[in-house]
Amino acid sequence: MVEKKHGFQIFAHVIMIFIAFCSVAPFILLLSSSFTDDAALSVYGYSFFPPKFSTDAYDYLFTSSSAIFNAYGISAIVTVCGTICNLTLTTLYAYPLSRKDLPGRYFFAFFLFFTMLFSGGLVPSYIMWTQTFHIRNTLFALLIPNLLMSAFNVIMMRTYFTSNIPDAVIEAARIDGAGEFRILVGIVLPMATPILATLCLLVGLAYWNDWQNGLYYLTDNKLFSIQVLLQNIQRSLDALKQSAQAGGSVNVSTADLPSNSVRMAITVMGVLPIMIIYPFLQRFFVKGIAIGAVKG
C-alpha cells in the first residue's frame, strides 16, 4: 500500500516536471534573448544561451523612459484597487445567483451571460466613457472600462458556491437568525477561500496585464501603468524602425536601437513581478474552513 502510494507520487512528479519544463523552457529562451545583442539575434536566431551577451535592451528601456518606476507604482495601485473592487462586485453578484430560492435569479444570470456574447464594439464604449463619463487621463480609465466585473468570473464563483457550499449550511444560519449579509461574510466567504484566491489572481493578472484601456484613454505619461508604458515603447520602436525603412527621414538615428531583444525584455519586466508575488498568494489555495465545523 505504502509503496503503491509512493509510486503514484513519483508518477505525479514526473508528469508535473515535464509540464513545468514545457512552461519554463520558452521563458528561458525569452530571458536569454532579452540579454542577447540585437544584431546577434538576427544572425544566430534565438537561443538558450546568449551568443553575445548584452544588456542593451534593458538599458534602452530604462533610459528611454525615466517613468518606469512610476509606472510600476501606478500598476500596483491600479491592480490592488481594481482587484478589491472587482472581487467585491463579483461576490455580491455571484452569491445571490447561487441561491436556488431567489426569484428571478435566472433572469439575472441571463442578463450577465448575455454580455459575454454580444458587444457593441469599441467605438460606442469609447464615446460613452470619454464624452459622458470623462474618464480620459484619470486613473479611472485604467480601473473601470471592462475590467471592473467580468461575467466569466461571476459565473465561476457562482458555480463554486452552488457546488461546494451546501444549502443546509445557509439554511441553518438563517434559522439562527443571521441576515443575508452576515451569512455571506461570516459563513460563505470563509468557505470560499480557494475560489477567492483564484479569482484574486485572475483579476489581478487582468489588471496588471491590461494596456488597452491605457492606450485608448490615456495620453498623460504620468498615469501610464507599466504595461501601457512598455507597449508604448514597443509599438513606437517597431514603427520607428519601419518608418526609417519605409522612406521617411527621421531626425534620430535608429541604427543602434535594439528591437527584438527589447520585445523580449518587455515581457520579462511584465512577468517577473507576478512570478515573485504569486507564491505568496498560494497560501490561500488551501481548503476553506471545514464544513463540519460550521455545521457544528
Binding site: 460606442p124 460613452m128 485608448y216 515603447i233 527621421v250 531626425n251
Partner: protein
C-alpha cells in the same frame, strides 16, 4: 417554455428602456450636427479682412481659440516634449492668427479611428496610415470638403503645390485632403551595402539592369558566404514595390504600367510584369540568392546584420536615410524611374472641427512660415536643436544632448505639411529640398492620376480577393512558390472571388472620370 418567454419579454423591456436612454445620449454621437457644422462646407466667407479673423478667433467670450492638431509620429509620444513644442508654436500662431494650438501625436491606427469615429473635435488631422485611407475618411464622413476653404485661405498652399498632386485626394470632384509638400514621387530598385561592393571590387556604376543585379548577387554569394545576398526590407517579407503599376487599392485592380498611356484596368496578378518578376525571384531563390525565412522573418533590420541588398524606394537623400536607419553606406540601383505616387500622406480638416476656417489658415501658415514649420518638425531651438553656424541653414543637436533614443522630440519631416522650408540636419545635403523638388517635378504622372475608385458596390468581392491575395502574393514575390504552378491557381481563385467584377466596375468609374475631365 413559458418561463423562457417571460424572461425574454423582460429582456426586451430592458432593451427598450436602454434604447430610450440612448436616444438621449444619441446626441453625443452626432457631433457634426448641422448647427455647429455649417461653418465648413457651405460657408461663403463674407469678408476676409484681418479684423474678421480676429473676431472669429477670439470666440464669443473673448478667449483665444485653441486649435487641436493631431500629428503623426512613429516615436513614443512624450507628452511633455510635445507640449513644449506646441507652446513654442503657439507663440507664432498667436502673433500671426490669434490662435493657440494644442497638439497630440499618434501612430496607432486604432486610436486614429476612435478619434474620428467618436467625433472628437480635432481641427487638423494627419491622415497618414489612417485605416482605409482617404476613401474611408470620405465614405465615413470624417473629412470635410476643402475646396472653398482652400481657395479662400490657402493661397500659400496653392502657390507651392501643383494641382496634380492634390488630384488623388479629390473624390467626386471634391477635395478632402491635401498631401504634404514632401516626396510625392518615388523611384524604385535596390539598396546595396557599399562596403561589400568595395570589398569584392565591384563597380557600382556598372549595375544598371536586372541581369547586372543578378550577377552582383551571385558574386556576393560566392565572396561573402556569411551574408544573404537579398533580404526583405522589413519583417514578414516586406518589399518595396518595383513594378510601376497604378494601384486602385481593391484586390488587384491596376493599370499595368504608369509609363504607358493605357487606361485599361487589368488584374495585376495576371500581368506579364508580375509573372516575370515572380519567375525571376523563383529562379533567384533556387540559386540561393534569397534569404530563407524571408516571408516569415520577424526581423526589421536585416540590412544592418545579415543582408547585402534589399528592395528600396529611391529619392534624393535616400543614402542619408539609410545611413541613419542601418548605419551602413548604401549604393542605390534604380530600376524603375520616378513616378508620382501619393503614399496616402497628408492632412484633412475633420468634419467635427468647430473652427474650420481658422484651421485652414493655420494649415496655410504651416506651409508658408519657415519658423513654424521648423518648430513643428525639429522642435524647440536650444532644447532640441541649434544652428550650426551663422548661416542658419544647417542645424545640429544641442551640445550634450543625445538624439538617439526617445528622450528628445522626434518627428518625421514628411509627415508635416511642408518640410521643404525647414532647415537641414547636419550631414544632410544642403540642397536636398531643391533636389527633391526637381525629382518630383520630373516624375511620370499616371494617366489615371486623380481618380479614386469607390469600392462601395463591390465590397464583397474586394474582401474575398484580399484574402486570396494574402494567400499567394508574398510567397510568389519571394520565389518560394513556383509561378508556373501557382499563378494559374491564384488567378483562378481571384476570378472565382470576383476580381473581374471589380475590374469592370473600376473601368466604368475610370472611364466616366476621364470623360469628365
Amino acid at each position: 417554455m413559458k418561463q423562457t418567454m417571460k424572461r425574454l419579454s423582460a429582456l426586451l423591456l430592458v432593451a427598450a428602456l436602454l434604447a430610450l436612454t440612448l436616444g438621449a445620449c444619441g446626441g453625443n454621437d452626432k457631433p457634426a450636427s448641422s448647427g455647429t457644422n455649417s461653418g465648413g462646407n457651405s460657408s461663403t466667407p463674407v469678408s476676409n479682412t484681418g479684423d474678421d479673423n480676429n473676431s472669429e478667433s477670439k470666440g464669443n467670450d473673448g478667449e483665444i481659440v485653441t486649435l487641436k492638431v493631431w500629428g503623426f509620429t512613429n516615436a513614443a509620444p512624450n507628452a511633455d516634449q510635445i507640449n513644449a513644442v506646441a507652446e513654442a508654436a503657439s507663440e507664432i500662431t498667436r502673433k500671426e492668427l490669434g490662435v493657440e494650438i494644442e497638439m497630440t501625436r499618434n501612430f496607432d491606427p486604432e486610436k486614429m479611428n476612435l478619434a474620428m469615429a467618436s467625433g472628437e473635435a480635432w481641427d487638423l488631422f494627419n491622415i497618414h496610415s489612417f485605416p482605409g485611407g482617404i476613401q474611408a475618411l470620405v465614405t465615413n464622413g470624417y473629412a470635410s470638403p476643402l475646396d472653398d476653404l482652400l481657395a479662400e485661405y490657402g493661397q500659400g498652399i496653392l502657390e507651392r503645390q501643383p494641382e496634380a498632386v492634390r488630384a488623388g485626394s479629390t473624390i467626386d470632384g471634391v477635395l478632402y485632403a491635401i498631401p504634404n509638400n514632401a516626396d510625392s514621387a518615388r523611384a524604385a530598385g535596390f539598396a546595396m551595402n557599399k562596403a561589400v561592393l568595395d570589398e569584392l571590387g565591384i563597380d557600382p556604376a556598372g549595375i544598371k539592369t536586372w541581369d547586372d543585379v543578378h550577377d552582383v548577387l551571385v558574386k556576393v554569394k560566392e565572396g561573402r558566404s556569411d551574408l544573404y545576398p537579398l533580404v526583405p526590407s522589413w519583417s514578414n517579407g516586406g518589399m518595396q514595390e518595383v513594378i510601376p503599376y497604378h494601384n486602385f487599392g481593391a484586390g488587384g485592380a491596376v493599370l499595368e504600367d504608369v509609363f504607358t498611356d493605357s487606361t485599361e484596368v487589368v488584374n495585376l496578378y495576371a500581368t506579364d510584369a508580375y509573372r516575370e518578376f515572380c519567375e525571376r525571384m523563383y529562379q533567384w531563390n533556387k540559386e540561393g540568392l534569397i534569404m530563407p525565412d524571408s516571408t516569415t522573418t520577424t526581423d526589421n533590420m536585416l540590412m544592418q546584420t545579415v543582408g547585402f541588398a534589399d528592395y528600396e524606394n529611391i529619392k534624393p537623400g535616400k543614402e542619408i536615410e539609410i545611413k541613419k536607419a542601418w548605419g551602413i553606406d548604401a549604393v542605390l540601383v534604380e530600376l524603375t524611374p520616378p513616378y508620382m505616387q501619393n503614399a496616402g500622406g497628408g492632412w484633412c480638416i475633420p468634419e467635427s472641427s468647430q473652427h474650420k476656417e481658422l484651421a485652414m489658415q493655420l494649415w496655410n501658415l504651416m506651409w508658408t512660415n519657415e519658423e513654424l514649420s521648423n518648430i513643428l518638425i525639429n522642435g524647440v531651438e536650444g532644447t532640441h536643436w541649434e544652428w550650426k553656424d551663422e548661416n542658419k541653414d544647417i542645424i545640429v543637436a544641442p551640445e550634450g544632448i543625445d538624439t538617439t533614443g526617445s528622450s528628445g522630440y522626434e518627428s518625421l519631416d514628411w509627415a508635416w505639411p511642408n518640410c521643404r522650408i525647414t532647415a537641414v540636419w547636419d550631414g544632410g545635403d544642403p540642397e536636398q529640398w531643391d533636389k527633391l523638388q526637381e525629382f518630383c517635378d520630373n516624375a511620370r504622372i499616371s494617366p489615371a492620376n486623380g481618380f479614386v475608385f469607390n469600392t462601395t458596390s463591390v465590397m464583397n468581392e474586394v474582401t474575398a480577393c484580399n484574402n486570396v491575395v494574402t494567400k499567394y502574393n508574398v510567397g510568389l514575390r519571394w520565389g518560394e512558390l513556383n509561378p508556373d504552378e501557382t499563378i494559374p491557381t491564384f488567378i483562378a481563385e481571384l476570378e472565382a472571388s470576383g476580381i473581374n467584377t471589380i475590374i469592370e466596375e473600376c473601368q466604368t468609374q475610370l472611364d466616366a472620370y476621364l470623360a469628365s475631365k
